[in-house]
């Protein structure tokens, strides 16, 4: 009896050893080189900064006061404007990619099954090219001498000698361009499983056009849409390279503001505090989104 039990225990121990020797190195790597570093980053936010911006004792909440806009010169609304602008840019980019995704996904589904993978590949391909290249490429299209800008001049949208880039419009475009595939892929996955008999039933009940789409197709694609919103909104909110290359000075976003605290004008504790606030806002957004999802119903796949 006791011998059998030790054999079971022995086997369980061996199983644990196998798990440790196979999964251990990979998990350990991520813990050591990502979880520990990000814990260090978050910890820095509670220190004071020395003259070179490096963290020193004593512990302080001053970095968070700086985030809220308080400094030696009094209160400044700059940071709040930047947070709101980031939120707005991410929101518009998410909306644009969602609106474009629906026709694209159903266009692909309306084609023969054999060429669908290729059509999907051509959506995803641009996002595999380098971030810098595919972002600065938009300067060629929207910059001061570019053809699109020339048309915009003649329509009176932008004053002469100024391009559509750098600026807010270029940032929104760049973000939507960068993250469109992240919306299309999950949406495609849920649209592929669409139950078309429901659509037929709706048609039999004389529903058509927008009404038919809204009541039969749309509810079935909500899980994919919600995953897509998360995959686009979160990285767009904290994006660095797009506002950096396409934004200019007037379209500063939270990502560039954080990066500046570690490169141009170092102030590590302030930068770390900004990061914490950004992550907290992202987390709150996710939680709010989950609640909203549960109310709409059918948001199972939205859980990452």
């Amino acid at each position: 009896m006791s011998a059998a039990k030790t054999e079971v225990e022995y086997e369980a121990g061996r199983q644990r050893l196998r798990l440790l020797s196979t999964a251990g190195p990979g998990l350990g790597w991520i813990v050591l080189f990502l979880l520990v570093p990000s814990a260090v980053l978050l910890g820095i936010a509670f220190f004071s900064a020395d003259d070179y911006g490096a963290p020193v004792l004593p512990l302080s909440v001053q970095p968070f006061q700086q985030v809220a806009g308080f400094s030696l010169l009094g209160w400044d609304s700059g940071n709040i404007v930047i947070f709101l602008r980031s939120l707005q840019q991410a929101g518009i980019a998410t909306l644009v990619s969602a609106v474009l995704s629906y026709p694209l996904v159903f266009f692909i589904l309306s084609r023969p099954a054999s060429i669908r993978p290729l059509l999907l590949l051509f959506i995803v391909l641009p996002s595999w090219t380098n971030q810098v290249v595919r972002t600065y490429a938009w300067l060629e299209l929207l910059g001061p001498d570019a053809p699109v800008t020339w048309i915009a001049h003649h329509l009176g949208i932008v004053p002469p000698y100024l391009g559509l880039a750098p600026g807010s419009f270029a940032v929104t475009t760049g973000l939507a361009y960068n993250y469109l595939p992240y919306m299309i892929v999950p949406l495609y996955a849920s649209a592929e499983k669409l139950d078309w008999t429901l659509v037929e039933a709706g048609r039999d009940l004389y529903a058509s056009g927008v009404k038919l789409f809204w009541h039969t197709v749309f509810p079935q694609t909500v899980p994919g849409l919600l995953s897509g919103v998360i995959f686009v909104a979160i990285p767009a909110f904290g994006d660095y390279i797009v506002p950096q290359l396409l934004g200019g000075d007037k379209a500063l976003m939270i990502g560039s503001l954080i990066a500046n605290q570690f490169t141009e004008t170092p102030d590590w504790p302030y930068g770390a505090a900004l990061t914490i606030i950004m992550l907290v806002l992202t987390g709150l957004g996710l939680i709010g989104f989950r609640i909203l999802t549960k109310k709409i119903g059918g948001g199972e796949e939205a859980a990452i």
């Binding site: 251990g24 990979g26 990502l34 570093p37 260090v40 474009l100 600065y136």
Partner: protein, 279 residues
């Protein structure tokens, strides 16, 4: 299923979007043939300059080294990790503790790359200050690139293994294959497409990345994307920058298409074989 009029509408919206997706990339290629900035005409001048520019060539070499080494190590770590999680995890275990591996694996995927990069910057900085090891450079970039690639390789391998018949493992056990033997003779061959896919994904992710590279790079480890970024900041978009961009876009598209058609060809072959077995 979709009425004809709606199909026309869908095509009418979708083809322009497809064109728009490739217009910026095509413009990069188009302007790479300009003889000088803002000058009309075509020439291969920029490419000629490029192939004699030692700085660009070393940057290219570094980018390739970075992609190759990081993808190789992350493929090894990720394959083992995916295998271990699929085979040896106690599935009955519940609660927070049982979810820790998944949490760890998903962190690099959901963490904004800026936060990722800055965390690494600070961590390597501290480690270097206190131990003298890990000076910012190609080594720190390789470490960071491995970190963001491992989860993707793991998920690719895991998905492949989870789709296998569990009796395969029992069968190999009955034939007296021990753990290592069955790993080499059963797992590796069966998971091979996923391993190759994971490796190529790692290469693609490495070449795609700028933000994490930028914050983990040292003064002597300028890779191609970092070179382009600083060249634009210094003197704007020149035909040379466009030429590098064109070559990068071209090679990644070629690589993706080749991989796509090879795997599709193989899938068709295996489907055919399966059908042959049934009859």
């Amino acid at each position: 299923m979709i009425p004809r009029s709606v199909r026309y509408l869908l095509s009418g919206i979708s083809w322009p979007v497809y064109i728009l997706l490739y217009t910026p990339l095509a413009l990069v290629a188009y302007y790479s043939f300009a003889p000088a900035p803002n000058q009309m005409g075509h020439s291969l001048h920029a490419y000629g300059v490029l192939f004699h520019d030692a700085e660009v060539l070393t940057a290219l070499q570094r980018s390739l080294l970075l992609a190759f080494f990081s993808a190789t190590i992350s493929t090894m770590l990720g394959t083992l990790l995916g295998y271990g999680l699929c085979r040896f995890r106690n599935r009955r275990a519940k609660g927070v503790l049982a979810n820790i591996p998944s949490l760890i694996i998903y962190t690099p995927i959901i963490m904004p790359s800026l936060v990722f990069g800055i965390s690494e910057l600070i961590f390597f900085n501290f480690v270097h200050t206190y131990t003298g090891l890990l000076a910012a450079g190609l080594q720190t970039m390789i470490i960071a690139h491995i970190t963001f690639q491992v989860p993707y390789v793991t998920l690719t391998v895991f998905a492949r293994l989870a789709g296998l018949d569990p009796y395969l493992f029992d069968a190999s056990h009955d034939l007296y294959a021990d753990g290592i033997k069955s790993f080499i003779h059963l797992i590796i061959p069966v998971v091979q497409p996923a391993i190759i896919g994971g490796f190529l994904l790692g290469i693609t992710l490495s070449i795609d990345d700028f933000t994490i590279s930028f914050f983990t790079a040292g003064p002597g480890s300028v890779t191609l994307p970092i070179y382009i970024y600083s060249a634009i900041a210094r003197k704007g978009i020149t035909p040379e920058v466009n030429a590098i961009g064109t070559l990068m876009i071209g090679s990644i598209i070629a690589l993706a298409l080749i991989h796509f058609f090879i795997t599709r060809h193989r899938e068709r072959g295996s489907q055919f074989a399966a059908r042959g077995n049934i009859t």
